[in-house]
């Protein structure tokens, strides 16, 4: 018995999946509700194939035979092989093509997932990222043989610096939250270098979960800031809490309510007044590119989510990339390496190098130089759009959000009233690139919750908005359409929301039991967490 067999994590709960001969039960005739995808039972790749089957053909051993023990003594060798799948190439292809069809994706429909900026991913980016000169470049290739990559990274650093209004960039962090970690560590380094040990980081109660989580990981303490009636930072609360034990204020602007904080200059003044740094969570940068710059607002540190504002495809949950830009005073602490234009290289034919000589640097946050494959895509994006295009993108993102908000607000319902009566805007009148509705009235009057609305939207063919975030809005529904959607799509989405509310007025059960048409219906998450089954049970095939 191997180590794996001694635990409970992979006991099959007896649901299904025990090697049915094939995936389909008898298909429906008239009047059955199960769609073809619903009839297919989920079977993992480990439940397919047969002993000895394979796709890989190993190159022949072209070197002289050597005694196995000399190559690798038996005590270092595995007892039994890893029980990987045993499948042919056609089986792999069919398996993954098949399960891919059980995903909804951005290329198939509207994906207004608030805070995630699900904008179209141009396929040009995949094409250029796949060029062997980028995709098959080893990270330890000498600088002189990687000049194209270094130039690309340098140019991207410059472009991000310009968009942020902060001059110094590190491309290293792997995602937004990794950028946050870098940012808080930079803040610590900054204060420590000045002989100060500040312990507190202010985060508004609208903050994304990664902000407080990051603060803890970086060894500091979270102090929450209240939100005022307009959805911005409560200045009094800020003044009360801003003391010289505060290392940093982390802010998203526009914030997670989709609102630009009009007091940003005053906020910066207060924070800088106590000697703390101001951190910009760049997840919402898509609202202000070329229109307003964090650096100009007084921020010291900014992270970008290249997978949001700069259209890296989201990959089902990554990869992403979270570069940071910082002000002069924080620059000395930036992680290594940074790409620099080499001194003495000519303006016409500049050369670039990875610079590790930064004595005050906080060090590395990961291996190598960051997610270069993402840099290629986002750089292609920036070159495609250019200065004006980036500004246009933000303008249309904001226009689309406000249009959708207005359409929903005005959308009449058959029983009288409009969508806004059940799903009012939580704060403010206009919004930036996204807005947050409250499902409170809907819950009280129509007896369906935001979750039910979201599940019913699945039947209408839409990815639901973000739900239950930010936390301070009751039954929150956070809608971010992005600039790459058409007015037809926005209208159709508004119609769907209105239709669901109308259905609920008739019969709340419709939404409460939704969805109906998805490959699986509502899943038992409680059972999943209670007795976790997080890997497949492997039954040794006989023979």
């Amino acid at each position: 018995m191997s180590a794996i067999d001694e635990n409970h994590l992979h006991a099959d709960p007896g649901i299904d999946g025990h090697h049915p001969h094939h995936g389909l039960s008898a298909p429906p005739t008239h009047g059955s509700a199960a769609s073809p995808l619903q009839r297919e039972r989920a079977r993992t790749i480990f439940q397919k194939g047969a002993r000895g089957r394979r796709a890989f053909v190993c190159p022949t051993r072209d070197v002289p035979a050597v005694d196995a023990e000399e190559l690798l003594p038996a005590r270092f060798r595995r007892g039994a092989p890893a029980r990987l799948p045993e499948v042919s190439e056609p089986e792999i292809v069919r398996h993954y093509v098949g399960i891919s069809k059980r995903n909804f994706d951005l290329d198939s429909g509207f994906y207004p997932l608030g805070s995630c900026t699900m904008k179209h991913n141009p396929r040009l980016h995949e094409r250029v990222a796949a060029l062997p000169g980028h995709a098959r470049l080893h990270p330890l290739q000498d600088d002189e043989h990687a000049q194209g990559a270094l130039e690309l990274m340098f140019n991207l650093q410059q472009a991000l610096a310009e968009v942020a209004g902060l001059e110094h960039v590190s491309l290293q962090p792997s995602a937004g939250s990794h950028g946050e970690l870098a940012g808080v560590l930079l803040t610590r380094a900054y204060h420590e270098d000045r002989g100060e040990t500040r312990r507190k980081v202010l985060t508004p109660d609208t903050a994304h979960g990664t902000n407080p989580a990051t603060v803890t990981m970086a060894g500091l303490q979270v102090v929450k800031l209240a939100t005022n009636a307009d959805g911005g930072i409560d200045l009094d609360d800020l003044r009360a809490k801003a003391d010289d034990d505060v290392a940093c204020l982390m802010l998203t602007n526009p914030n997670t309510l989709g609102l630009f904080d009009p007091n940003i200059t005053e906020i910066a003044r207060i924070v800088h007044g106590v000697g703390a740094t101001l951190y910009y969570d760049g997840a919402n940068l898509n609202a202000v590119m070329g229109l307003s710059r964090p650096g100009d607002m007084g921020f010291d540190i900014v992270h970008f989510n290249l997978h949001k504002s700069f259209t890296q495809p989201h990959g089902g949950g990554g990869p992403g990339s979270g570069p940071i830009a910082v002000s002069d005073r924080v620059a000395p602490y930036l992680p290594v390496p940074v790409v620099v234009r080499e001194d003495g290289s000519s303006a016409d034919a500049p050369t670039f190098a990875l610079d590790y000589e930064r004595p005050k640097s906080i060090g590395r946050l990961r291996g190598f130089h960051g997610n270069y494959g993402c840099f290629v895509r986002s750089y292609a994006y920036i070159r495609s759009l250019g200065a004006d295009g980036l500004k246009d993108a933000s303008e249309v993102a904001v226009l689309n959000a406000n249009y959708l908000l207005a359409r929903l607000r005005a959308h009449p319902l058959p029983g009288g009233g409009t969508v806004a009566d059940y799903l009012p805007l939580a704060y403010g009148q206009l919004c930036m690139h996204e807005f947050v509705l409250s499902g409170g009235p809907m819950k009280r009057e129509l007896k369906i919750k935001t979750l039910d609305l979201a599940k019913r939207l699945l039947d209408y063919g839409f990815h639901p908005p973000t739900v239950y975030f930010p936390l301070l809005v009751e039954e929150a529904l956070m809608v971010e359409p992005t600039e790459t959607e058409t007015i037809q799509t926005l209208d159709a989405f508004a119609d769907a929301i209105a239709a669901i509310l109308a259905e609920a007025a008739e019969d709340p059960e419709i939404a409460l039991s939704a969805p109906y048409t998805t490959p699986v219906r509502r899943l038992d998450e409680v059972a999943a967490a209670k007795r976790p089954v997080i890997r497949e049970t492997l039954v040794e095939a006989t023979g």
């Binding site: 003594p73 092989p81 890893a82 891919s100």
Partner: protein
């Protein structure tokens, strides 16, 4: 659209929300937008100025390896259905992604011999950092003992992060001399005390050498010569492993390791100048509720159908905020997909065959190279697919000479680690893409380069 909103212009929407003093009154200082064909041309030109592993005979490794990525990996990762969704927050319409995670977790669990795998972390070195943080959450202690055999990037990353975690890092040296190259077991046992939160080593280590993982685990967990810990007081034993080598090496689980993490790039991921790839993270069951990152779990829907969900989310930042076990949010799902497709492609027998091939070719290369004048094995211990040589000539110069012949003989270790002891050390990686013929060409090229460099005092640069 403006009418519906009730504004006269888009500008007005901004004017009404953004105070004038923080509006950017000018255009961005960026190049103008370009057509698709021009962007393609520009990015192609940049690509052409890089020397990829297609452009030379490359023996670079040290953490990322030029394994052959089968065509089905590209085909599947490029499918819109996998490429363009985000994290599966709505499981009813994300069963594809969730099942991939579940399968991936199974494959990693098999490889590592540990039951609980998450669905991916960023990459190798930061995964080691994440494991150390989990150890801190687990036992509340603050001392990390590391083997000097960890990759320099891992050591550097760990130091950066440990500062944030409020932990300190103590390094245990490798046994020196050609019979060494493995973690000094005595020093390791001595370094680990009751205050030690985590004990971390690499398998194989940075120099390619196979560590005695079972001995290192055992030593960490049982009383040593000094004041080693026992039982509950034992630290969390963490191995940073090479997933390809795990195809033939005793699994971390078998060796008594608690947490196995590592760089996933060798599993079907592109080199991509260092990223994106993925970090794998697998642990014993008792760590499950302190693990970082997404985890997919099996369940049923209201009609009794088998399905998958993100599970144990109460660990995560979006639920637990400052009390979360990690701040990770967006991870490396697409790269993990590539990983599990690759592992399915290799298959149960294939991964063993591949490992045996690498063993044999690496042995051949090491013996042939070490037989050259001025070239010596750095250590004698077994290696799997990478090994270190000491040259009697300046490594930088030798590498330049080889490059002129279209051969990249491997990594200049001193340039990477900055350690004085690594001066003169060349790290050579062998993958299944490097045939005997290729290795023979390396032998000839390196022989000539070392011979030519011998003529000159080591360390003196040659004009390119």
């Amino acid at each position: 659209m403006l009418d519906a909103i009730g504004v006269g212009s888009v500008q007005e929407i901004f004017d009404r929300q953004i105070p004038e003093d923080v509006r950017l009154g000018r255009g961005l200082r960026l190049p103008a937008g370009q057509t698709e064909q021009d962007v393609f041309a520009h990015l192609s030109q940049l690509a052409a100025r890089n020397t990829s592993v297609e452009d030379e005979l490359s023996f670079l490794g040290a953490g990322m390896y030029d394994h052959y990525v089968p065509a089905i990996v590209d085909m599947l990762t490029e499918r819109s259905e996998f490429l363009t969704p985000y994290t599966p927050y709505q499981p009813e319409i994300s069963q594809g992604g969730l099942q991939v995670m579940f399968e991936y977790q199974t494959a990693i669990s098999e490889l590592t011999g540990l039951p609980a795998s998450n669905a991916s972390t960023y990459e190798g070195p930061s995964a080691v950092g994440a494991a150390a943080y989990m150890a801190k959450l687990h036992n509340g202690r603050s001392r990390i003992v590391v083997s000097a055999g960890l990759h320099p990037h891992t050591l550097q990353t760990l130091r950066t992060l440990a500062h944030g975690y409020g932990m300190e890092v103590a390094e245990v040296p490798l046994v020196s001399g050609s019979a060494g190259g493995v973690t000094d077991l005595d020093a390791w046992a001595r370094a680990i005390d009751g205050e030690t939160s985590a004990a971390i080593f690499a398998q194989p280590n940075f120099y390619g050498v196979v560590e005695d993982a079972a001995a290192l685990s055992a030593a960490a967990k049982s009383p040593g010569d000094g004041d080693g810990p026992v039982g509950a007081a034992a630290p969390v034993v963490i191995a940073q492993a090479d997933p390809i080598a795990l195809g033939i090496l005793a699994s971390p689980g078998e060796c008594g390791v608690d947490v196995a993490v590592g760089e996933g790039q060798p599993l079907g991921n592109r080199l991509d100048f260092g990223g994106p790839s993925f970090g794998f993270f697998a642990a014993r069951e008792q760590y499950l509720r302190r693990m970082p990152g997404r985890i997919a779990g099996e369940t049923v829907d209201v009609d009794g159908r088998r399905g998958f969900v993100l599970t144990l989310q109460t660990r995560e930042q979006h639920i637990r905020r400052e009390k979360a076990t990690s701040n990770i949010c967006t991870a490396q799902a697409l790269n993990a997909l590539a990983g599990v497709v690759y592992l399915s492609w290799l298959g149960r027998e294939g991964i063993v065959e591949l490992g045996e091939l690498l063993l044999a070719r690496t042995h051949y290369a090491r013996e042939r190279l070490a037989a050259l004048d001025g070239v010596h094995k750095l250590h004698e211990q077994p290696v799997v697919r990478e090994f270190a040589l000491r040259l009697d000539a300046d490594v930088a110069e030798v590498r330049r000479r080889c490059a002129a012949s279209g051969v990249n003989p491997g990594v200049d270790v001193h340039a990477l680690s900055g350690r004085e002891a690594d001066r003169g050390v060349l790290l050579v990686a062998i993958t299944e893409r490097r045939s005997r013929e290729d290795i023979d060409r390396l032998v000839d090229t390196l022989a000539a380069a070392v011979a030519a460099s011998d003529q000159q005092p080591a360390g003196e640069a040659v004009a390119a």
